[in-house]
């Protein structure tokens, strides 16, 4: 059973979003997504200051099975990326909501987060998939 924390929001393409106290949002891929991909061997992250549109492919996660795009769950500007993943992509598998975070965004509009799925909706979504 995949872990779906109750304090996050979720996209259909299996990214999670956490709103931080400073108004930025942290994002990564869900436990369900890392489970489907299998052990990651490489993570490619965007440049800091890169502006992303919602649903724009902005990172790549690669496992021995497949390379998959990661989409920006909301529009914004990249303010920080998780450099640790360059050497330790397995953090995404081991701790997808913690040490395996991918990037931090300054959202164009923080209300966009509300349009993403709630934990219950996402749980239902992955069960129906």
């Amino acid at each position: 059973m995949s872990d779906v924390p109750g304090d996050l929001r979720y996209s259909k393409s299996h990214e999670w979003v956490r709103v931080n106290d400073d108004g930025t949002v942290t994002t990564g891929i869900t436990d369900h997504a890392q489970g489907l991909l299998g052990d990651l061997v490489f993570v490619e992250l965007p440049e800091v200051d890169h502006e992303v549109e919602a649903e724009e492919a902005c990172a790549v996660v690669e496992s021995v099975k497949a390379a998959s795009d990661v989409y920006a769950p909301i529009a914004g500007t990249v303010v920080e990326v998780n450099e640790e993943l360059n050497d330790a992509p397995e953090a995404v598998n081991q701790d997808p909501y913690g040490a395996g975070w991918l990037m931090r965004l300054q959202p164009s509009s923080v209300e966009d987060v509300e349009r993403l799925m709630s934990p219950d909706e996402y749980q239902e979504y992955i069960e129906s998939e």
Binding site: G38, V41, K65, A66, A67
Partner: protein, 482 residues
């Protein structure tokens, strides 16, 4: 065991060794090596046994059923290779004047003509050296066409999400942005989404038909009309040409440019990174842009067409004629089959795939598209087995090796979870297909009884389950002594 591990100082095959040391006195002293190279020192028989044993460990189309979907691993008739090695072909110097090689040029010209007929295109250039280069040539021609018309706003290539990964890569290499078009649940391209996506930015669309999902794109005419009306061109990826060879023609479907993989569809072994050939066929409007050289017949003799005759050409993609050996094999293959034979290739490839698909369904496997007829390949999904038995597509693939079958393609296309993409090809007998079904049936029984057996497979090969994750994370390709 590596041949270096057989090595003992001073041991050698005297009869095979050169009688005298080669002279190197014409090389500058600073470039000469000081130590002898670290070559294995073995007897002739040790070398023979070592390499014979290695060859016996191969899984190859010559030894095993090889149903690798999307790759068409079919039998390459020996005659094609033998005839392509005739001295008149093999010994011809590429810089020899055309008048000295009329026979070889005639073969290439006829190959162009046969490929035109089998694809329904207006003209063919044989020179791209492999599939990826054929793709590149195709999209480069689309670019050259728009550029020649000063139609500069077209900066997008549409690619269905089921496409081969090479398609978006090619579009990017040619300087285009890639826009993905979704696929419907029944395997067809989402035509409504396509309609919304096309416009003045559309340079073209890259399509494989039959698609990577193993089904025929039924609304292809409508798709062609939508893209053409928006001013874009249609590119056909020839990866799956084996399914329709001569039966349905990309030119008739409305495609403007196509690449063909002569290695794989036309009798050259492939998959080892060896030489390939990716000829391109074009509609009338792209003809001026074709890569050169091309062979032409002026009514009297065969001549080369180069940049001089084709000033708008995208240019040369390789030295001389690309991988000429592959072209000659393809020529012999096409001549051996003839028109009816080509049709039979497509018919038997499709028949074999549909037979295998139905039998695996009866054996309890789930199909990704149970309501669709297979083309030359089809997809089994082990999503249910993964959930219920914790048995993955990779486990089944590895276990198949124990039964003496090369595994089908795993985890591709990406759209279908836990999938096996199975392509039996036209050259397999019914008995061979039945044997595969029997192995798959037994694996399914094992999955229900003892999933551990599958998790640890293969059990009978020289190497057991490899740690692919560690291999990718800690890449180490060098053998070290001791």
């Amino acid at each position: 065991m590596l041949i270096f591990e057989h090595s003992r100082p001073g041991r050698r095959a005297g009869v095979q060794a050169p009688a005298a040391e080669a002279s190197a006195d014409d090389l500058p002293a600073g470039l000469l090596r000081e130590d002898r190279p670290a070559l294995p020192e073995v007897s002739e028989m040790q070398a023979v046994r070592h390499y014979t044993r290695l060859s016996q460990k191969n899984f190859s189309i010559d030894t095993h059923f090889y149903p690798l979907g999307s790759c068409t691993m079919k039998y390459n008739p020996r005659a094609c290779n033998t005839l392509a090695m005739l001295p008149g072909i093999l010994a011809r110097h590429p810089l020899a004047p055309a008048s000295e090689g009329q026979g070889a040029l005639a073969c290439l010209y006829e190959l162009q003509e046969m490929l035109k007929e089998v694809t329904g295109m207006k003209a063919v250039s044989l020179t791209p050296a492999a599939g990826a280069q054929g793709e590149f040539a195709g999209v480069a021609m689309i670019r050259a066409y728009h550029d020649a018309r000063n139609d500069d706003a077209r900066d997008e290539i549409l690619v269905p999400d089921a496409a081969h990964g090479t398609n978006p890569a090619t579009a990017t290499m040619c300087g285009y942005k890639v826009r993905e078009i979704p696929t419907l649940d029944n395997g067809d391209v989402d035509v409504d989404a396509l309609r919304e996506a096309v416009g003045e930015h559309t340079a073209g669309i890259m399509l494989t038909n039959p698609s990577t999902l193993g089904v025929f794109e039924r609304r292809i005419k409508e798709i062609a009309d939508i893209v053409h009306q928006a001013g874009g061109l249609l590119y056909y990826d020839g990866a799956n040409l084996n399914a329709i060879l001569g039966k349905v023609r990309p030119g008739d479907m409305g495609f403007d440019v196509i690449h063909m993989n002569l290695h794989k569809t036309f009798s050259t072994p492939h998959g080892g990174g060896g030489p390939g050939a990716g000829p391109v066929g074009v509609s009338e409007r792209l003809e001026p842009f074709m890569p050169v050289p091309i062979v032409d017949y002026d009514g009297d003799e065969y001549v080369w067409l180069t940049e001089k005759e084709r000033p708008q050409s995208i240019g040369r993609l390789s030295a001389f004629m690309g991988n000429a050996g592959v072209l000659f094999r393809a020529y012999v293959y096409a001549r051996l089959l003839g028109r009816e034979g080509m049709h039979r290739v497509a018919e038997f490839a499709t028949l074999n795939a549909n037979y295998l698909m139905k039998r695996l369904q009866q054996a309890g496997f789930d199909l990704a598209f149970p309501d669709r007829r297979a083309t030359h390949e089809f997809i089994v999904t082990l999503k249910r087995q993964m959930k219920e038995l914790n048995v993955s597509a990779m486990d089944v693939a590895k276990r198949l090796l124990d039964y003496g079958y090369h595994a089908p393609t795993t985890y591709f296309p990406l759209l279908v979870p836990e999938c096996l993409l199975i392509e039996p090809t036209e050259t397999e007998s019914r008995e061979e297909l039945d044997g595969f079904v029997e192995a798959m049936t037994r694996i399914l029984e094992e999955a229900a009884g003892d999933a551990g057996l599958l998790h640890e497979a293969p059990h009978t090969l020289p190497v057991r389950r490899l740690d692919e994750v560690r291999a990718a994370r800690e890449l180490d390709l060098r053998w070290k002594a001791g």
